[in-house]
């Protein structure tokens, strides 16, 4: 079995090559009570920082996705102490200063870009904080769309900004107030409420199981769609 040497919080372990950081840590005997979630790269619960023996750069990843490499010094930083501001989305509006109001520390951004360099999702974090500063909520929402809220940006920021919370507020405001409304959806909801599909639904609910199965199998399937 091919193995690699890694250092977990400074202690050397030999682990099978090809494991993710998370599995390698479990192989080494660590048990995750916190700091592990979906194990699929989506939940952001397993932020990890590491350095390679032959590099000076600190690198960032989520432990469930990153494969171990020989000579990796690593530690998990699964949580950023960053309380979220309290707001009622119904009561706030996407005004120019709303992000600054809940997170005034964005005024301290020095444009060092350390946040962007710390993002395992390769998001232009500094650019969205700059957009937040000038009240461009739409831009913040667009740029931060892939954020999984691991919090690594906020652990590295010299200005103490809680980037991912700022972005979340921007996306919420965008979704509620700025994103174009789906007209066809509203139309369909109205049709349902008017009872346009009542007869069809009645017919289906009264159908025999065998007949229903047959109908299901014969349904129209869009090409290229499937799990």
């Amino acid at each position: 079995m091919e193995t690699v040497r890694i250092y977990i919080m400074g202690k050397e372990y030999s682990v099978p090559a090809g494991l993710t950081v998370m599995k390698a840590m479990e192989y080494a005997g660590y048990k995750f009570i916190r700091g592990a979630g979906c194990r699929a790269g989506f939940c952001g619960a397993c932020g990890t920082v590491y350095r390679k023996e032959d590099e000076y750069k600190l690198r960032f990843a989520v432990a469930c996705q990153k494969l171990v490499e020989d000579g990796m010094y690593l530690v998990q930083l699964p949580f950023a102490p960053a309380p979220r501001a309290s707001y009622d989305l119904e009561k706030i509006r996407p005004s120019d200063n709303v992000l600054l109001k809940f997170y005034p520390e964005i005024a301290r951004c020095v444009a060092c870009n350390t946040c962007t360099k710390s993002c395992p999702q390769e998001i232009q974090v500094m650019d969205y904080i700059q957009a937040a500063l000038r009240g461009d909520i739409r831009r913040v929402a667009e740029l931060s769309f892939d954020c999984i809220q691991c919090g690594l940006c906020s652990m590295r920021c010299p200005a103490d900004i809680k980037h991912y919370h700022v972005a979340q507020l921007a996306r919420r405001l965008y979704g509620k107030y700025l994103a174009p409304k789906a007209e066809h959806l509203a139309q369909r909801v109205a049709e349902i409420e008017q009872g346009k599909f009542n007869a069809e639904l009645d017919r289906l609910t009264r159908m025999e199981r065998k007949e229903l199965t047959k109908l299901y199998e014969a349904r129209q399937i869009e090409e290229g769609v499937g799990v």
Binding site: N97, L100, K101, P104, A107, R108
Partner: protein, 129 residues
């Protein structure tokens, strides 16, 4: 107050500001030019005097926080001392030891709504370490 000796204060101010504080001959043109002098407990000239005398209590003065870096003093100093940089050096000595002068979370909501971003950014840079 920071525990600095007279010499340490003088050296720190000269290093951080890049200015020759001892070039000051106390003419007072800086104080006469300062639009905020009336709000200050020490005039800008006195701040220079205190530093030359090694009086570390200059760090307790409200002057360094009232100074808004308008550069009137430096534009008029006959000896070419950039006094705004001297003030900045004194502020930085305190800010870098954790003595913030502004809590962004305590700015009233009405102000947060209408004050230009540049005021917050400038305030954060001048008053928070």
């Amino acid at each position: 107050m920071l525990e600095l000796s007279s010499k340490e204060l003088q050296r720190a101010v000269e290093e951080l500001s890049g200015q020759k504080v001892f070039a000051c001959y106390q003419c007072g043109k800086c104080s006469a030019s300062c639009p905020f002098a009336a709000e200050m407990d020490l005039t800008p000239r006195q701040v220079l005097e205190y530093i030359m005398d090694g009086r570390v209590e200059v760090l307790n003065s409200n002057t360094i926080w009232i100074c808004a870096s308008c550069f009137s003093c430096m534009a008029r100093c006959p000896n070419g001392i950039d006094i705004s940089k001297v003030m900045e050096a004194l502020r930085q000595l305190l800010l870098r030891s954790g003595r913030d002068q502004l809590d962004l979370l305590k700015i009233p909501e009405a102000d947060l709504k209408e004050i230009p971003q540049i005021a917050f950014i400038a305030g954060a840079r001048k008053l928070i370490g």
